[in-house]
C-alpha cells in the first residue's frame, strides 16, 4: 500500500472516529462521576441541528460551535435535573432524553433540510497540508478534530493528575464516602453530566458541519450508541477510548474497502465486522477482572440519596 492510497484511508478513518471520540470523551467523564446518560444520541442530534442553524443564521462558525455545545449542555441539564435532583432512574431518563432529542431536533430543523453549508474550515494554512507524507494527516483538519485529541488527553490529565479529577472519581466510586468527607456529590455529578452534554453537542456539530455538512433528520444514525459502547469497551480508560474509537472507525472503513475490492462475502457479514470486532476485543481485554474493577466507577447508574 503506497501512501497515495494510505493517506486518504487514514483521513477517512479520522473522520469516522472523530464524532465517536468526541461524544465518548464527554460520556467518559459523566460515567466516571457515577452517572450513566444513555441520551447521547438525542444530545448529538440537538447539537447537530443547533450548530447548523446557528452557522446558517449568523455565518459564524465560532457561534455555531458555542451553540452546539450549549445545546448539548442544556439537554444534559434536563437529564441531570431528572436523574440527579429528582433521582429518577438514569437508564430510563437517558432513553427518554433520546426520544425527546430526536423529536425536538426534527422540529427545530424542519425548515433547514436540503440546504448546503460551507464546512468548518481547516485550522492550518493550506501550505502545511501540502507537505509531503505527513502534511494531510497532521495539518488538514478542522478545530473539532484537534479538539477530539486535545479533549481526551485533557480528560486523562484531569482525571488522574488533578485534585478535582480525584474528587470526581471518588464521587463515582463511593458516593457515600465522598459525601461523608464533605464533597457535594450532586454538584460534581451535575458538572460532569454537563461536560458530557457539551461534548455530545460538539460531536453532533461535527456531523452537520464537517463529516457531512448538512442537516437531515436523524443524521446521527446510531452513532451515539456506538460512543456509549466504546466506553464500556475501553473499560473507562481514556487511552482505550481513543484506541476504541479509531479501531471501530478503521474497521468500518476497511470493510467498505474490502467490498470495493470485490471480497466474496455477503455484504451483510462485512457490515457486521465493526460490531463483532468490538465484542472480540472487549472479551480479550476483559479477562483481567481485577483491573476492570479498578477502572469501572462502582456507583455508575445508582442514585445518590444524601441522607440515606
Amino acid at each position: 500500500m503506497d501512501h497515495a492510497y494510505l493517506t486518504p484511508l487514514i483521513l477517512a478513518i479520522i473522520a469516522t472516529a472523530t464524532p465517536l471520540l468526541l461524544a465518548a470523551t464527554g460520556e467518559l467523564v459523566t460515567e466516571k462521576s457515577g452517572v450513566l446518560n444513555l441520551g447521547i444520541e438525542g444530545m448529538m442530534l440537538m447539537g447537530a441541528v443547533s450548530g447548523f442553524v446557528t452557522a446558517k443564521l449568523t455565518g459564524s462558525m465560532v457561534l455555531a460551535l458555542v451553540a452546539a455545545g450549549l445545546t448539548g449542555m442544556a439537554m444534559s441539564a434536563l437529564f441531570g435535573f431528572l436523574a440527579l435532583v429528582l433521582l429518577a432512574n438514569q437508564v430510563a431518563s437517558g432513553l427518554a432524553l433520546t426520544i425527546f432529542g430526536v423529536g425536538l431536533s426534527a422540529l427545530v430543523g424542519a425548515n433547514w433540510v436540503g440546504q448546503p453549508i460551507d464546512p468548518l474550515p481547516v485550522l492550518f494554512p493550506a501550505a502545511l497540508a501540502e507537505l509531503p507524507l505527513v502534511g494531510p494527516v497532521l495539518f488538514a483538519h478542522d478545530f473539532l478534530t484537534y479538539l477530539s485529541f486535545g479533549a481526551i488527553a485533557g480528560v486523562w490529565w484531569f482525571l488522574y493528575r488533578t485534585k478535582a479529577g480525584l474528587i470526581l472519581r471518588a464521587v463515582g466510586d463511593a458516593h457515600d464516602s465522598a459525601h461523608a468527607i464533605g464533597y457535594n456529590v450532586v454538584k460534581v455529578r451535575f458538572l460532569a453530566t454537563l461536560f458530557g452534554g457539551c461534548m455530545s453537542g460538539l460531536a453532533g456539530a461535527y456531523l452537520s458541519l464537517v463529516y457531512t455538512p448538512m442537516w437531515a433528520e436523524n443524521m446521527s444514525a446510531g452513532r451515539g450508541w456506538i460512543a456509549l459502547a466504546l466506553i464500556v469497551f475501553a473499560t473507562w480508560r481514556p487511552g482505550r477510548v481513543l484506541i476504541g474509537a479509531y479501531l471501530f472507525g478503521a474497521i468500518a472503513i476497511l470493510q467498505l474497502h474490502a467490498q470495493g475490492a470485490g471480497l466474496d462475502i455477503p455484504a451483510q457479514f462485512l457490515n457486521m465486522l465493526p460490531y463483532l470486532a468490538t465484542i472480540l476485543v472487549l472479551v480479550i481485554i476483559s479477562r483481567d477482572a481485577v483491573r476492570i474493577r479498578l477502572n469501572a466507577p462502582a456507583c455508575i447508574g445508582k442514585a445518590f440519596h444524601p441522607a440515606a
Binding site: Y5, P8, L9, L11, A12, A15, T16, P19, A106, G109, A110, V113, G114, Q115, P116, L207, Y211, T212, P213, M214, A216, E217, N218, M219, A221, R223, A252, I253, L256, H257, Q259, G260, A261, G262, D264, I265, P266, A267, Q268, N271
Partner: protein, 357 residues
C-alpha cells in the same frame, strides 16, 4: 297550481343548491403513508413535494394528510387502516414494505382507493405505481463512460432488491457501450439513508480508483465527498447541485407530481381504475436535472439519449446483453421484458461485484 309549481321549482333549486353546497364543502381527503421522515431530502421528501403539489393543484378541493416514518412491520397496517377510517378516499403507501398491509386494508375498505408504490400486488381498489428509474441510470451510465478517465466507476448501493440491481445493470450496460473496458465497483451499505456511512463508502470508492460516483442511497453526502475530492457524481431523488456545484453531472429526479395529481383527479371525476403503472422519462415521472460540468458534446449525447429513451427508440436493456458468466440473456434486436426487469436478480457483464444469494 301555479304556486305549487313555483314552490316545487323553488324546492328543487334549493335542493340543488344544497347539494352543490355539500359538494363544495366535501373536500376529497387524500392520505400519504411515508417510510421515512419528510426531512430526509431523499425518497420521502420527494413524495411529500408531490403531496404539496396535489394540494396546490386543487385549491380548496383536496385535503391531504400524511404520516411519516412509519416502520415497515406491524405498525404499517394500523396506520393505513386508520387513514382509511378517518375518511381518506385515496391513500398512497410509498414503500415496498407496505405492500401486504396495504392489500389487507384495501380488502376491508372497498370504497377507498389505494395506491402502492413499487409493489406487485393489485386488487380492484388497489393500484400499483413505480418509476422506470433505470432509464435515468442508463443516461448517467453513458455520461460516466464518456467522462471516466480511470475506467473505474463507483456505485453506492443500498439493499440487493430488484430495483437496485436493475439500476446497477442499466448503468453498467450504458457505461460499457461507450467504454467497453470500464468497470463498476459496488459497495453495499445496507441502508437507504445514513449520510456518514454513504460518505465513507464514497471515499472508499474514490480511494480505489473511481473517478465518478453513482449512488442508490438517499443523502447528498456522497456528492459532497465527490466535490471535495475533485471527482464527479450524480444526484439522487432531488437535484442536488447546491451540494456539489462543481461535481454534479446531473441527477435522477423522482417526480411523482403528475401521477399524484392525475390519480387524485381520477378519483374526483370517478374515472379511477386499478392499474399497474410503470412510467419513465416519457411522462416525466423520471426527470433529469440539468446536465452540467461536462463538455458540450457529452451533454448533447446525454440529451439525445434521453430523447430516444423517451420515444422508445432506445431501450435501456437493448440486446445483446450478457450476464456475468458470459451467457447471453437477450439477443440483438430485442430487449429484456418487463417481467424479467421487475424481478432482476443477476448482474450483467462488467459489474465488478458478486451478487450473493
Amino acid at each position: 297550481m301555479k304556486s305549487t309549481l313555483v314552490r316545487l321549482l323553488g324546492a328543487a333549486v334549493l335542493a340543488g343548491m344544497a347539494a352543490m353546497g355539500v359538494a363544495r364543502a366535501e373536500e376529497l381527503k387524500v392520505g400519504f403513508v411515508y417510510v421515512g421522515p419528510v426531512g430526509d431530502y431523499g425518497w420521502t421528501f420527494r413524495h411529500d413535494v408531490a403531496r404539496k403539489a396535489v394540494e396546490a393543484a386543487f385549491p380548496g378541493k383536496v385535503k391531504t394528510t400524511f404520516v411519516e416514518s412509519v416502520k415497515e412491520g406491524p405498525d404499517a397496517e394500523r396506520v393505513i387502516r386508520q387513514m382509511a377510517a378517518s375518511g381518506n378516499k385515496l391513500i398512497f403507501t410509498t414503500s415496498f414494505g407496505f405492500m401486504n398491509p396495504t392489500v389487507k386494508v384495501a380488502k376491508q375498505f372497498p370504497a377507498v382507493k389505494f395506491e402502492h408504490a413499487t409493489g406487485y400486488k393489485r386488487t380492484a381498489n388497489l393500484s400499483t405505481y413505480s418509476a422506470r428509474f433505470y432509464e435515468g441510470r442508463a443516461i448517467i451510465g453513458h455520461i460516466a463512460g464518456r467522462l471516466s478517465k480511470t475506467g473505474v466507476v463507483g456505485y453506492i448501493a443500498s439493499f440487493p432488491i430488484p430495483e437496485v440491481v436493475r439500476g446497477i445493470n442499466a448503468f453498467t450496460i450504458a457505461l460499457r457501450k461507450v467504454n467497453p473496458e470500464a468497470k463498476v465497483k459496488v459497495i453495499w451499505v445496507n441502508t437507504w439513508y445514513d449520510p456518514g456511512k454513504e460518505a465513507d463508502a464514497a471515499k472508499a470508492l474514490i480511494d480505489q480508483g473511481a473517478d465518478i460516483i453513482a449512488q442508490h442511497t438517499d443523502s447528498p453526502a456522497p456528492l459532497q465527498v465527490a466535490e471535495k475530492r475533485g471527482v464527479k457524481g450524480f444526484g439522487q431523488a432531488s437535484d442536488m447541485i447546491k451540494f456539489a456545484p462543481k461535481s454534479q453531472l446531473t441527477a435522477i429526479v423522482d417526480n411523482w407530481n403528475p401521477y399524484y395529481i392525475a390519480r387524485t383527479k381520477a378519483v374526483m371525476d370517478g374515472s379511477w381504475k386499478s392499474e399497474a403503472t410503470w412510467a419513465g422519462i416519457k411522462p416525466g415521472m423520471v426527470k433529469m436535472a440539468p446536465y452540467t460540468n461536462m463538455p458540450a458534446d457529452v451533454k448533447a449525447e446525454a440529451e439525445a439519449l434521453q430523447a430516444k429513451l423517451a420515444s422508445g427508440e432506445v431501450h435501456a436493456f437493448d440486446g445483446p446483453i450478457k450476464d456475468q458468466s458470459g451467457k447471453e440473456v437477450v439477443k440483438a434486436g430485442e430487449h429484456l421484458d418487463d417481467k424479467t426487469l421487475a424481478t432482476m436478480d443477476y448482474y450483467v457483464e462488467g459489474v465488478d461485484d458478486k451478487l450473493k444469494k
